[in-house]
């Protein structure tokens, strides 16, 4: 247990804070701790969590991705156009199409980062603008509502009517999210490829000397982030039942905040699935809570910005390390 706590300090702390926030919100509002609110919280954040695990892989490999949310918008638009022209399609085709367009967009990032040795934040800010500009230009900003039925149909996994007559339900995106979380966990914890990603993020030169294929690692990290962006795109349409070109613009920062709050380090080599899930849940609860307490949504935006700043400024040196450093100095 002590071993577990030592290695999962960030996660444990976040878990405690999350628990306290939930208790506080449960006391101050009478809507927060209802089954209806909690299930809709999960439904509404499934897309964020799918993005988050994709971003986690990139952060572990020492990169950063700003473009994934906009990439999802591009995937939605392309998929809608192609599926409509094919006369509708089905779920299998939808997953294949969205997944592969997502991977393609991710590989574009990987190509520029690896081939021209540009740092990933610069490349993905650039592709963020290229993707978004191109999308708004080609779509003329128009939304698409006439989508195939299978895509917009609600698939309910669980439903429950409480005594006061309100319905609570869990929908398909929650299951897909669970699958994405599981498969990403397998990748980074249980497969040698994932361990090479950690190594590459931790010490790129050491990884290169050990024979790790750097180009493949970049392609894997950004391809994975792209794949998750593609799946998130498909699920987001299933939830909102429309394709709005600028709907996802700006969502990347709250996901980034969530992932770094969960202990993934900007700079690479560190980050866990548990932390990532807790981070997304924490951000979701924070947003939900502010909403229920009737506080302006701009306060949420401010908190997201502050969370990123705090996480970045403390991610390299934890308090424990600071003290350890000091006591080591005193020994010498």
């Amino acid at each position: 247990m002590s071993d577990f706590l030592r290695h999962r300090q960030v996660e444990f702390r976040l878990f405690v804070v999350l628990l306290l926030s939930c208790i506080a919100l449960g006391i101050t509002t009478d809507t927060f701790l209802t089954l209806g609110n909690l299930t809709s919280l999960l439904n509404n954040n499934s897309v964020n969590l799918i993005w988050a695990v994709g971003l986690l892989v990139v952060l572990i490999a020492g990169g950063i991705d700003i473009s994934f949310a906009v990439a999802s918008s591009v995937v939605q638009f392309v998929a809608a156009k192609v599926l409509i022209s094919l006369g509708g399609g089905n779920w299998v085709l939808g997953f294949l199409l969205c997944g592969s367009v997502g991977i393609l967009l991710g590989l574009i990032n990987a190509f520029f980062i690896h081939r021209f040795r540009i740092i990933s934040i610069v490349v993905t800010i650039a592709t963020f603008n290229v993707f978004f500009g191109l999308l708004m230009w080609l779509s003329r900003g128009r939304s698409i509502y006439a989508l195939p039925d299978w895509w917009t149909e609600r698939i309910i996994l669980f439903e429950h009517q409480s005594t006061d007559g309100t319905w609570s339900e869990l929908i398909l995106p929650v299951a897909v999210m669970a699958f994405c979380v599981g498969i990403t966990w397998l990748l980074i914890r249980r497969v040698n490829l994932g361990r090479q990603l950690y190594a590459f993020g931790d010490n790129p030169e050491g990884a290169r000397r050990a024979g790790v294929n750097i180009a493949a690692m970049q392609a894997l990290a950004f391809g994975w982030s792209g794949l998750m962006a593609g799946i998130a795109a498909l699920m987001q349409v299933n939830i909102v039942q429309e394709v709005v070109p600028n709907a996802l613009y700006g969502r990347e920062l709250e996901v980034l905040a969530a992932v770094v709050l969960g202990g993934a380090r900007l700079g690479g080599g560190k980050g866990t699935i548990t932390g990532c899930v807790l981070g997304v849940l924490f951000v979701a609860v924070m947003q939900n809570g502010l909403n229920l307490l009737g506080i302006s949504p701009f306060a949420f935006q401010m908190l997201i910005g502050a969370a990123i700043l705090v996480a970045i400024s403390t991610s390299n040196i934890s308090l424990g390390e600071l003290f350890a450093e000091r006591s080591r100095r005193q020994e010498t």
Binding site: D202, G206, A210, A216
Partner: protein, 504 residues
């Protein structure tokens, strides 16, 4: 091939005959032979640029030689060597920077090479830990396998790197400057491990600037100079100074130069300096033209004292005087302005801006003295200042505008010196100025130190090495656990006596 030939080649872990490597017209290696016997501890000695690294890179397949009469690994003749072939035949290198992964666990670091490759495979953590444990027990070491590497001190990281090499069944391990950042007792522990390896039949090639430990650990030493083989010598009967001569090709004058400077005016005087947890009751005086050696184990508080003397940290107690005036620096800038210069221990990270030019690095601390009439930096004045110092210190450079990283370790150290001397200090503090600097450049640095002292500079020389203190200072102060325990006169104490006083 006769039977004696067979046994002859079986006895060698590595045989290179007539290897030549050319970089851009320069012969980095010229017809060099290099042999390592199985289970032998062999030292590869030479100054920076003598071809040691090139040789390691040829053995590990990183570089291909232009010519090689014969290359043999464990009795097998090879036409080409690639990193894959070298690793498969059991050759590993422990690089100076270790090339480990700080955020990963000890077990994962040791077993990392099994992870490499693009074919997806599962990771078995239990098996990984079991094998890591087995390797560590072979080394008679126990480490917390689940601790992250960054939580370990550097000496234990070194052991992790060795364990990783053993994990690959290495029979020939190259160690590049393994002791550069270890304390004496850690070094002893490492040398014990090297002996263990050797007794189990693993050949170890040791590259180190510390000649004492080279002679201690190795059976034979191959000396390279300017890319050519000088010869292979048994270490029995070899002395440090003889080895230094072989490496540099000229006689190094290592003798006591101390003389009494107590009559010269006192430049720096400290009384009862104390800083909680670091040092206590320090009385210290340094006279004009005097070199005071400050020696002690790592952790004795020497660097901490220097930091307090230069205003980088606050004193809890005590007074200092510089040229008779009260001296209480509030910051390093303040100390510099008053005439104290500090050349840090870690010059690569802290002393130089690696990506900037030699010229910019030289003038960084005196930018206010090279301004023109309108207050901008004058290129002409800058160049004059840089040329002046480059000449005075004999720095071997291409162009002043070349990046500092193009210089060798010794020359970089000279640029750091130039940078501080440009501030025209009265007291110069040198903190381990020769870490990672080879014998020849080391002699060059101390020649400069002597010259500076003769010009009347007061110098405090912090060093880990007994010989360095003994042969280059006028007085040797021994610090232990934050206190000055003794002052020695180099003319009245031998190397062995001083070593005993410090290490035992």
């Amino acid at each position: 091939m006769t039977s004696s030939d067979v046994t002859d080649s079986q006895q060698y872990a590595l045989r290179l005959v007539g290897v030549t490597k050319i970089f851009g017209g320069v012969r980095a290696l010229n017809n060099v032979d290099f042999e390592v016997r199985r289970g032998e501890v062999h030292c590869l000695a030479g100054e920076n640029g003598s071809g040691k690294s090139t040789l390691i890179k040829i053995v590990t397949g990183v570089h291909r030689p232009e010519a090689a009469e014969r290359m043999e690994l464990f009795g097998e003749t090879l036409d080409t060597l690639t990193p894959v072939i070298a690793r498969a035949r059991g050759v590993s290198v422990i690089w100076q920077d270790l090339a480990l992964f700080p955020n990963m666990s000890v077990a994962e670091n040791i077993a990392f090479d099994d992870m490499v490759g693009l074919a997806p495979r599962g990771v078995d953590y239990a098996d990984m830990r079991k094998r890591a444990k087995a390797v560590l027990s072979k080394l008679n070491v126990s480490l917390d396998l689940s601790a992250s590497l960054e939580s370990l001190p550097i000496a234990q990281r070194q052991i992790v790197a060795i364990a990783r090499a053993l994990m690959n069944d290495s029979q020939l391990i190259f160690m590049d400057e393994p002791t550069a950042s270890l304390t004496q007792s850690e070094t002893d522990a490492l040398l014990d491990i090297v002996r263990t390896l050797s007794s189990e039949g693993v050949a170890v090639v040791f590259v180190s600037h510390r000649l004492a430990e080279v002679l201690d650990i190795a059976e034979r030493v191959t000396v390279l100079r300017d890319g050519c083989l000088v010869d292979v010598f048994p270490t029995a009967g070899m002395t440090q100074s003889r080895l230094g001569e072989l490496m540099t090709g000229h006689v190094l004058d290592e003798k006591v130069v101390a003389c009494d400077k107590q009559d010269a005016p006192c430049v720096f005087k400290a009384e009862n300096l104390a800083r909680r947890g670091e040092f206590n009751g320090i009385d210290l005086s340094i006279h004009a033209g005097e070199v005071v050696g400050l020696i002690g184990l790592i952790g004795a508080g020497r660097t901490e004292l220097a930091h307090a003397m230069t205003g980088m940290t606050r004193l809890d107690e005590g007074t200092m005087h510089l040229n008779g005036q009260p001296f209480a620096p509030s910051s390093l800038r303040h100390a510099i302005a008053q005439g104290v210069a500090y050349v840090s221990e870690d010059r690569l990270q802290l002393g130089l801006l690696q990506k900037q030019s030699i010229a910019d690095n030289t003038v960084i601390s005196v930018l206010d003295r090279i301004l023109n009439a309108v207050g901008l930096i004058s290129g002409r004045q800058k160049n004059a200042l840089v040329c002046d110092w480059v000449q005075q210190l004999g720095v071997k450079i291409g162009e002043p505008d070349d990046a500092i990283s193009t210089l060798s370790g010794g020359n970089q150290q000279k640029v750091v010196l130039a940078k501080w001397l440009a501030t025209e200090p009265k007291l110069l503090i040198l903190d381990c100025p020769t870490v990672g600097v080879d014998v020849g450049a080391r002699a060059g640095i101390f020649r400069i130190v002597r010259d500076l002292a003769e010009q009347g500079l007061a110098i405090l020389l912090i060093t880990d090495e007994v010989t360095e203190a003994l042969f280059n200072s006028d007085r040797v102060i021994h610090m232990h656990h934050g206190r000055i325990v003794d002052t020695h006169d180099p003319r009245k104490i031998s190397v062995n006596e001083l070593e005993t006083a410090i290490y035992v």
